[in-house]
């Protein structure tokens, strides 16, 4: 029969899909590897000519350059590796502080944007549009060169309520410090958090298994408040001292000092990211359909219940993925600090290249560090996305 013949007819090589696919893969691999090989050969040739070293041995040698501001002990006599670590810690500190503040401000602005009060919503819109349409680097320049470097001398500090002092040397804040017995309180706070989480998880599991109400929210909140309260009493009632900066001689002592660079970076990054987070929050809340709210009201839930049981859980599902990618953007954007002289990872890398003269190894380290942070973040994001996905019919 005709069809039988057709099946037995041999397919020519150039139309056989399996052959074509194999050829395409081999060719593309060859092209890419060829390009990489060509670059590598050129690179080895140039490094040989210039006598550049590619080894990482220099990491143990003394760095020889100062870092103005570090959160781990560092001195120019310490190694390049230590300098790199100090830069990484600087990046992480400014990112962590930025993430917390940007989240708070972003949620406030996002909710204000949805306010039924027309004026409040417009003010929020103005904040968002201002920050979203100006490059972050220009905003940082405004904060640092326009504001923080134009501040008066120490003796003529601007005083804000708090007290907060603003001058050439930075921003001085009143800050709580642990007193002698403060450690007991600190331990009890940590214990409280851990116990509360355990209670939450266990009681919730019990409820899911048995269907009985276990009041997991109330119980864990109570633990969260009670355990630190006991610690407060044990520590004699005064675990924390609020330390205000005081002008002594030519400088302020006590309190918390943020250098002008750190403060400018933190303000710029935080407000810029907050504008984006505000839009994420608005979109997330608007994604919950009105019918949900109306249905919940119809079943007789109180307004607070509607918010906590219906709106927020559904909105968070939409908000969290883009929120995490904003956190990641903030971390990556902290590299712009090099422009205003705050020495984080990228800036330290840049100085190291000049000092040690090893561009390639240092660059690989810097980029790999950022890449690890990004990949870890997207890993967390993927796990979260898989967990919250609606199980659809």
């Amino acid at each position: 029969m005709a069809t039988g013949e057709y099946i037995h007819e041999k397919i020519p090589l150039w139309r056989d899909e399996r052959v074509l696919r194999a050829v395409a893969q081999v060719v593309s691999t060859a092209v890419i590897l060829g390009l990489l090989y060509w670059g590598l050969v050129n690179f080895l040739e140039i490094t040989r000519q210039r006598g550049m070293s590619l080894a990482y041995g220099f990491l143990d040698q003394p760095a020889g350059f100062p870092i103005a501001e570090t959160f781990i002990p560092y001195a120019p006599t310490m190694s390049f590796g230590r300098a790199f670590l100090a830069g990484l810690v600087n990046t992480l500190v400014v990112s962590a502080a930025g993430v917390v503040l940007a989240t708070v401000i972003g949620f406030i602005v996002g909710l204000a944007r949805l306010s039924s009060n027309w004026l409040v919503s417009r003010i929020a819109l103005a904040f968002i549009e201002f920050h979203r349409n100006i490059p972050l680097l220009v905003l940082l320049a405004i904060w640092y060169f326009g504001i923080f470097s134009q501040l008066p001398r120490v003796q003529e500090s601007l005083t804000l309520p708090g007290p907060v002092y603003l001058n050439q040397r930075g921003l001085y804040l009143t800050w709580p410090r642990l007193s002698e017995t403060g450690e007991i309180f600190l331990i009890s706070v940590i214990a409280g958090i851990i116990l509360a989480v355990i209670a939450w998880v266990v009681l919730r599991l019990i409820r899911e298994k048995t269907g009985r109400s276990t009041y997991f929210g109330t119980v864990s909140l109570a633990i969260l408040l009670l355990v630190p309260a006991i610690g407060w009493l044990l520590s004699g009632g005064s675990p924390l001292r609020f330390e205000s900066p005081e002008l002594r001689g030519f400088n302020f002592q006590g309190g918390l000092r943020l250098s002008p660079e750190f403060a400018a970076l933190l303000f710029g990054l935080t407000l810029y990211t907050a504008a984006f987070i505000a839009e994420v929050v608005r979109a997330g809340i608007q994604a919950v359909s009105r019918g949900q709210l109306e249905a919940a009201r119809a079943v007789g839930l109180r307004y607070t219940q509607v918010l906590s049981l219906i709106i927020i859980p559904q909105a968070m599902r939409v908000i969290i993925p883009p929120l995490i990618s904003q956190y990641l953007n903030l971390t990556k954007n902290s590299s712009l600090a090099v422009y205003i002289g705050y020495q984080e990872l990228f800036a330290v890398g840049k100085v190291t290249i000049n000092q040690a003269g090893r561009a390639v190894p240092v660059f690989i380290m810097v980029m790999a560090t950022y890449l690890v942070i990004s990949l870890l973040t997207s890993l967390v994001l993927n796990i979260y996305n898989r967990r919250i996905q609606f199980i659809e019919r």
Binding site: Q25, I46, G146
Partner: protein, 402 residues
């Protein structure tokens, strides 16, 4: 019947008083909020106006307005960027004539902006009548182009070819000049600067990254494991690092991976970094568009007997790309803002020119705020209206409707 028409007619617009009561004075808390916000807005506006008109010293801006536009580009050769601008706006007008609503908002915005710039009452030696005339010619050229674009003989393909030819001539011949030609002397890119460089990097970045991004997106969805792996590795690696590191790497390390005799201009090196960075993001946007194409389209195309190449080029890509045009515009805006980072590798873009003005004049040392706010205002106007135009574009495309 009268009652039916009453019921069907839309509710009347609320009177101003009603609107006020509903939106500002709903209850006591709301009224309080309104009063506080009003006080805040009033205070902020008054403080701002006083600063802008009385306290601020705008000399760093007014002393050399052309510097912010073209940088150190020789003033005798200033007709070259001018001509490039005129050609571009004329073509923009033609695009408006041909593609109608898709380009309309962009064309009107650019025309209005340049027209306003021409009429700004600013006395400066460098702002000659010729410069003003060149700016004023833009809206007229846009309109002329629009009329020509409307002619039935002109098609989208013609305009596209004209854009291609014009952009090649402008970026490779007109602006850099040719060695040894007396009428078109070579001008090193170190002299280029200001908004010109910012726009060249942003437009060049998005245009050149687009095809690469499309290929990467197709590669990422390819059924060939090796191709897929390479594309994923490239996209994730580039998206995982900050743009500054890429710019810095290309500006100091690219030469290490090329033959020793190869010399690449530093503006081009920065452009390569921007293109690769943008391509990775374009790839992810295009992938979103590709995923939105229902599989039925591909199956139907297979059933009619199209091969894989035909399915991709005639069925999937046209639909997917139409879907992602608004995202691409959004990405263009963020790339436009990101061009400021080239200042870190020593290129005098708009921000770099601002720094140069401040650093070269000791008397301007306390006037940082004025310069940076001026630059911020330029970026704001461009980005804001660009995102407005992209909303119009979205409406024209009917995204989310079809």
């Amino acid at each position: 019947m009268a009652t039916t028409t009453d019921m069907l007619s839309p509710p009347a617009a609320p009177s101003p008083i009603e609107w006020l009561r509903k939106n500002l004075f709903g209850d006591i808390f709301n009224a309080l909020l309104t009063i506080v916000s009003l006080a805040f807005i009033l205070f902020a506006l008054v403080a701002m106006a006083r600063w802008v008109f009385f306290t601020a010293d705008w000399r760093p801006v007014t002393v050399a307005p052309l510097l912010y536009l073209v940088g150190q580009y020789p003033r005798g050769e200033i007709w070259r960027p001018g001509l490039s601008l005129l050609v571009s706006t004329f073509l923009l007008g033609m695009s408006w004539g041909v593609w109608e609503r898709y380009v309309k908002a962009f064309a009107i915005f650019i025309g209005a902006l340049l027209g306003i710039l021409a009429l700004i009452p600013l006395e400066a030696a460098s702002i000659t009548l010729a410069v003003r005339a060149a700016f004023l010619a833009n809206p007229i050229l846009i309109y002329l182009g629009y009329r020509i674009g409307r002619l039935p003989a002109v098609s989208g393909r013609h305009v596209f070819m004209l854009w291609l030819v014009a952009s090649v001539l402008i970026t490779l011949v007109l602006l850099p000049g040719i060695q040894g030609v007396p009428d078109l002397p070579k001008i090193a890119t170190t002299a280029w600067g200001g908004l010109m460089v910012t726009l060249l990097l942003a437009v060049g970045g998005i245009v050149l990254s687009f095809p690469i991004g499309v290929f990467l997106a197709l590669g990422r969805r390819s059924s060939l494991p090796v191709v897929k792996l390479f594309c994923i590795a490239f996209i994730e690696a580039v998206r995982g690092v900050p743009l500054v590191t890429l710019l810095f790497m290309f500006s100091i390390m690219l030469t290490l991976f090329l033959p020793p005799q190869a010399r690449i201009d530093r503006l081009v090196r920065a452009l390569i970094a921007m293109v690769l960075f943008s391509a990775a993001y374009t790839a992810e946007n295009v992938r979103g568009g590709l995923q939105a194409i229902p599989p039925g389209q591909v199956e139907a195309a297979k059933a009619v007997g199209l091969n894989n190449f035909q399915i991709t080029t005639f069925i999937v890509l046209p639909q997917a790309l139409r879907l992602v045009i608004p995202t691409i515009v959004g990405q263009f805006i963020s790339l436009f803002k990101d061009t400021t980072l080239v200042v870190i590798v020593g290129i005098n873009d708009l921000l770099g020119i601002g720094n140069a003005v401040l650093n070269l004049n000791p008397e301007f040392v306390r006037l940082q705020m004025e310069v940076y706010l001026f630059i911020a205002a330029i970026f704001w106007v461009f980005s804001y209206f660009m995102s407005y135009a992209s909303q119009q574009l979205e409406r024209a495309l009917g995204v989310g409707e079809r």
